[in-house]
Structure formats: C-alpha cells, structure tokens
C-alpha cells in the first residue's frame, strides 16, 4: 500500500511540531506542519491536498484552536467532518468541554505520552 495517511499538525510551538512530525513519521504517517491556524486552514481548504486527521493546539497567536475548529466545521469542504484532536496544556475541565462542545473528536493534554496520541489517532484513522 503506497498511500500514507496524512495528519495535519497545527501548533505554534516549533518543538512540538518537530517532535510530532518525527514520531508520526516513524509510525508510517505523513505529517504536515502548520505554524498557525491560518496556514493550517489554507492547506486544508486546498482541493489538491488530502488530509485524514488534524491535531490542533488550543493556545495560539492570532487565531486560537477553537476558532480554527469552528472554521473547519462550518466550511463546506468535504473534510468539514474530519477527525480533530485538540492538543492543550490547559488542564481545566472547562477547556476540554469547550473543545468537545465545538466539535472536537478528542483531546490530548500536554504533557502527553506518545502512545496515547497514537492510540487516539488509530481510533479514528487506523
């Protein structure tokens, strides 16, 4: 099988993007990195790109994760129902609920175990 499942990682923190890129690649996925919400949306909304899952950070400059999520869910692209996993250092319950209420499929709290991230990804896209 040639095709690799594509995961879009939207996070403003370079170190996090880099390590996710490294680890996901090791697991046979094709990670795409975006350093802010707008760049992530641009990639996703481009017809030529195919994305299977989005890992989305909450606290980001200019456009936060909730806003990016809303853009995705209210858009009319085929991927508007794409699985989105929120990545957040905000441990408060409110934030988790806020994310889920806005249509996130799951969330990961920082610091995370990569095995957990992997399990959540596999749950949605195998």
């Amino acid at each position: 099988m040639d095709y690799k499942k594509t995961i879009l990682i939207i996070d403003d923190m370079k170190q996090i993007r880099d390590i996710l890129w490294f680890s996901l690649k090791q697991e046979g996925y094709k990670p795409i990195l975006a350093e802010n919400g707008q760049k992530g949306l641009d990639y996703l909304f481009d017809k030529d790109n195919r994305v299977d899952l989005v890992i989305l950070d909450v606290m980001m400059p200019k456009m936060n994760g909730y806003e990016v999520l809303e853009e995705i869910r209210t858009s009319n692209i085929p991927e508007s129902n794409i699985p989105v996993i929120m990545l957040t250092a905000k441990a408060q319950k409110d934030d988790v609920i806020k994310g889920l209420a806005r249509g996130a499929d799951d969330y990961i709290l920082k610091p995370y175990k990569f095995a957990d991230v992997l399990a959540k990804i596999q749950k949605f896209i195998g």
């Binding site: 390590i19 090791q26 606290m59 936060n64 441990a91």
Partner: protein, 532 residues
Amino acid sequence: MKTTPLEKDHQFLTRTISSLTDQIDLFETFQDLSLKIISQFDLENILDTFCGIIKEVMTYQSATIYLFHEDREGFKQTYRSGAAAKNQGSTLPDLKIINWVMDQGRWTIITDFQDIHAEHIVSILPIKGPKHSVGFMVIVTDFKPSIYNQKLGSILNFLASQTAIAIENQNLYAKINNSNAYMSNILESISNGIMSINMKGDVTSINKNTTAILGIKTKHLVGKHYQHFLKGNLKKEIDELFSEILDKGFAFESMVNHSPYKEVSIIVGITVSLLSDKNRKTIGVIFIFRDLSASKEIARLTKLDEMKSEFVSNVSHELRTPLSIIKSYSEALLTQVKPEDHNTREQFLSVIDNETDRLATIVSNLLDLSRIESGKFALDYKAVSLKNIVKSVISVFKSKPANISILIDFEQDLPKIEADEDKIREVLINLIANSIKFSPTGGTVSISVEQQDGFLSCSVSDTGIGIPKNKITHIFEKFFRVDNSDTYEIEGTGLGLSIVKHIIDSHNGKISVDSVLGEGSVFTVYLPLTRS
C-alpha cells in the same frame, strides 16, 4: 314701691354695666385659662391643668378623662383626679349614652334629677376641638342640682375645646419629635457622611460619620459655619461645590485627597444637592461624603484575586509546555530514535536542555515570588561588573531565538557596582527574554550600558509589539499581564517584571519604561554604584 322712669333707666344701666363687667371678667378668665392649658406641651401636664381648672370651677368628687385611640376606634382611661366614690369601680357610663353625648358635642348631665336614689350627679364633657373629638371627661359631683346652669356649661365646653386643641398640638408635636428621631436614626446609620448647611453656610444638621470620615474634632457643629471646622483642600472643595450648586443647580461628584488623621490619607467623594422648602425655594445645600478608599481597596483586592486565579492557570500552562516538550523528546529518544542516528539524538537533547533551562527560570521566578511574599528576600552584595553579567546573559540567549539579532553597546571604562550578581542576572534574563518574546521574527534587541550621576544604567530596547499606554503603569504589578488576546498570545506568568522591579527596588535603583505600541519598548534599569 314705685320707681320713676329715670330710676328704671339707671337700674337698667347698672345691671347692663355689671353684666358687661361680668362678661369681660369671664372673657379674661377664659383667656387666662386657655393660655394655661395651651402652653403645656406634655399630655400629663395638659390633663393636670385641665382638671385643676375644672376643680376650681366646680367642686367634683372625681373627674376621669378617656381619650380616643388614634384610629378613633375605642378609647382608654388616661387620667383620673379625685377619690373614686364608693360603689364605683368605674365611673364609665353606658356606651350608648357616651355616643349620644359625643354627638351633642357639649357638656351633658346624665343623672336624672328626679331619681330619688341618686347620690351623685354624673356628667359627661366631650373634649372636642374644631375638627374632631379627642376624648371625654366623666365628672362625678355631689347631688346639688342648683349649681348647674348654662354659664357653667359654656365655661366647661370652652375649657374642653381648648384642651382638645392642646392635646392635638401635643400629638403633632410628639409626631414631629418621633419623625425627627426617626430621621436622625436613619442619618446616623448611613455609612456616608451627611451634612446640610443653610444659605449662609451654617450647619443645620450633620451626622457622626461626617465627623468620622473627615476627622473633625470640633464639637457641637450645628449652627457653626462650615469654614470654622473644614480646612485646606476640603474647605476649598466645599466652597467651590457650594457656589457651583447655587449657580447651576447641580454639580458632579468631586474627589478630594484628605488626611483626616496623621499618616492617614483617604479619597473622599463629595456629592452635593439643593435643599428646598415646600414652595421649592432653596433653603440650603446638602453634602454627602463617601470614603472612596474602602471601595477602591475592595476593587483592588477583587482584581488581585482574579489575577491570582489567572496566575494559577498561567503557571500551570507555563510549566506544562516545557514539561511536555521534555517528555515527548525524551520519549522519542528512548523509543524511536535509532542509536546510530547521532544528529537526531544531539538535536533532541539540545531541545531538552533548552526546555529544562526554561523550566528552571519559571521555578526560580516562583521561588523569588514566594521569598518576596514571605519577606525572606535578601541580597548578597559584591562588587560586580554589569558588563560581564550582560555578556554572560546574552551568551545564554544567543543560540536560541530564531532570526532575532542582539546588539550590545557598552560605554568605555565602566566602574563596578555593588550588587547581588545572581539577582541582577535574573533581572537581565527577564528583560531580554521579554524583548525577544514580544519581538516578531527579524526583530532587533539592543542592550546598552552607560554611567550617569553615580548610577549605571542598562537599557534593553526591542522592536517588538509595544505596550498600550494605559497598561504601562500596571506592568510591574504582580500577576499583571497585558491582555493581548487579539494581537498575540504570548505565554507568561506575569511574574517576571514584578520580580525585576522588586530586585531593582531592593538595590535602591530605578526602572523606567518607554514604549510605542507596534514599534517597540525600552526598559532602562538604573543601579547605584555603591550600596547606600
């Protein structure tokens, strides 16, 4: 005996004159009596005087006064004079008879003169004023029908009406007293100071809180001109408000810094409004004084509380971010990076190293905060070179920020200063880290050190996002973070600058900030050369 017409006329005249004299005497007596009754203000005295006069007019065995209740439903015995006759538990006649007499509205004998068993004569005297009845008197006298005549009746009715007026006046008087007491209770229980003055400026009323808030020691202020006991700003402000309100009819609340007691300074809010009588004629002015320090203090504490909760959430985020980076990189090193892939290993280890430094800074800031809070913040003074500290701090940063250049400019022959090296290093780390943090990629951070007037100054300037004007005064406050949610979301605990300020203050130094929104900020630290 025959009388001549002249004699007849003379007799007629004599009788008329005598009767007129009698009448005048009677009028004078009436006036005297009326004055006696009306000049009393106490119910007991009124009734006492009334009964005393009745006793002089007609000798009674007993006189009992019943007064109606305020709602005029029912009455009660209020006064009794003279010994109660035998066989008489109560002198109260039948209610129907009383009502009938009250309707007649004049003195009425209710004992039947024909009754051979009657031992006394009982009469009822309605106490009735021009408007309504206030009560009645039951009079018991010896059985001597001859003394009853019309003249006695009119005297009694007159006295009763005067008594009714006196009682009504007394009721009004008591009501006014009550409502005065009620008002003054209200005035005293209000936490604000309330003072009214007349048009001349003399105090007409003042509550205790006015004297408490303003710290007035003068006693018996009512009747005194306010300028006798208000001085300085306060007098000036009252002068202005007084003329402004009379002039324009309104004035805005003004705030005055006032020092009611030594070493106590409060902010007093003063509002003023006109006092007018029922014809809407202005008769004075009322001032209300509020101690605004208390409400300001509550607002400050509430804000501090909010900032603390935000702080907890920020700290948790700040700690989790480097932790999660360290965790994921070390996890990858342990499970995914091939042992022979030296480049990746080194790259990952250096990320872990950097994040560990970041964690260490946060932890040390938190420790500083707790030392400052508990008063255990001590300085370890040594002669140190500010230039060397700046250099070593920059070397820490140099490798880290992407695309941000750091420029340095040191004046020649800088002297050493007496300072705590570690603490000064912390100051610089905080300031430079902030400059980098708030600068966009490609920005420049310049650091310069120069000497001036017994101080060394160190400026850290950047080409970053700048600080809004209205926020500049707050940036050194603990937990304060400029709300930048619509521009940048930059992480921080809001502790750095408050610790910086504390360190500089404990060195007897100064810190100043100059910033233009969107262009950049300059923080300048002044440190004295010698410990003073």
